[in-house]
Symmetry: C2
Subunit: 228 residues, 2 copies
DNA sequence: GCAAAAGTGTTGGGCCTACACCCATGC
DNA sequence: GCATGGGTGTAGGCCCAACACTTTTGC
């Protein structure tokens, strides 16, 4: 056990689908410690790369995914969190849109990377369960004051997808009519003249699109998104 | 230049007084690099201490202060942020109440530690100006949705101190009557039967006290503090 | 025709905003 | 008595919460 302190980055990446709900990206560890245990994607940072670069590299290496939304979450540095040596990890919080999300689902169970439902997580390596808790709390808090929910949906989505997403993230069930009025009132969502593909019965759903640049203009004016 | 990556902690500690406004705690560096330049209190973490322990130790060593409110802010890890070698720093965000704050003011200019008005900061070492910006933004945002402003006041305070504090932190000037109604409506502030010492003319001000345990009970019920 | 999902308006009440004068003290 | 800072109430409007039926499709 050297006297060095090592630094890693780890990412908590959430995905979403209407059927499966909130899912989390995990990888199976190839090496000791915690060999064959599921863990967050991540790894040690290199001498000449920034933290942001490190986490992007690790995600690409271990899962092949590119993440549309990624921000620093918290740094975990408990002395005993890694049995080998002292490791401090900078955790990131990521969201992935449903198109990319589906691709990974297609890539079989044999893959090293896999999605798990947030309520059915396996036993995890290190203190990763603790990190995930912090990240999930951030997700549930942040969807209420920033329009990050759209990062979990596709570019075009039926309004009911957004509804369901917020329903699964917020504590109390949302009122469909009030929710739509509120969200539409910001003018950051465009109604398209396209319809979602039918799957089963029911009236076909119009598709909507999140307009990020309008949101950014509102922010500058001091108008902030808020839902609860 | 070794191949090691080193880890430090730094603290952005804010103090407040009605006369001087928002102030920031800085220390003068004794050693190279940036010798004699003002910088955030902080230093390298030790092999066997947690991050929280490290920042508390450094603050005590360098400034003698004990901080009532301290939370992790953000981790800064740009490759070139330290000219010596690669150093990643975990920044903390702290608030200190006005009693403690005054004590330091009494400890002369010769001291290594000194308060600076947030609008009159000297040139700083490393990327500490950037860290301070992030911290100040956090302060201004967070006072709006958590009652952390009280951490900057004394245990007992005249209501006008709170008013002035929010006035100096928020962008638009607050309405005195509406502000008081809002804050009092949470029931987290007790009106005492004591009065502030007179300094100059004016009606004597009643003293108030923040009741943290009532606030925590409200939080559990899902009632959140909010001012703007 | 019935099951499944999408779409849509109104009302009452509570909360937030706007706004200005009196009170107690020092000098 | 005047300057200084502390303390206080109301009315109008806006926004939010509560609430249920109709439309379009697949089968």
């Amino acid at each position: 056990m050297s006297d060095e302190i090592r630094i890693s980055v780890d990412a908590v990446v959430f995905g979403y689908s209407k059927i499966r709900g909130i899912n989390l990206l995990l990888i199976k560890r190839k090496y000791s410690p915690f060999k064959d245990r599921w863990a967050l994607p991540g790894g040690f940072i290199k001498q000449n790369e920034n933290l942001d670069q490190a986490i992007e590299r690790e995600l690409k290496e271990e899962t092949g995914l590119s993440i549309n939304y990624l921000e620093q979450l918290y740094t975990f540095g408990e002395v005993e969190r890694d049995p080998r040596t002292r490791v401090i990890t900078v955790a990131y919080f990521g969201l992935i849109n449903s198109e990319t999300y589906k691709e990974l689902y297609a890539s079989t169970d044999a893959s090293e990377a896999q999605w798990f439902n947030i309520n059915e997580l396996p036993e995890l390596a290190f203190d990763h369960d603790k990190i995930i808790k912090v990240a999930f709390k951030r997700l549930r808090t942040k969807v209420q004051y920033e329009p990050i929910g759209f990062e979990l949906l596709g570019k075009k989505f039926p309004f009911s997808d957004l509804e369901e997403l917020y329903n699964s993230l917020l504590e109390s069930p949302i009122d469909r009519r009030n929710f739509k009025k509120k969200v539409m009132s910001y003018g950051i969502i465009e109604e398209l003249n396209e319809f979602a593909e039918q799957k089963g019965a029911g009236r076909p759903a119009k598709l909507f699109k999140f307009n990020k640049s309008i949101y950014e203009q509102l922010q500058k004016k001091g108008i902030y998104f808020e839902v609860n």
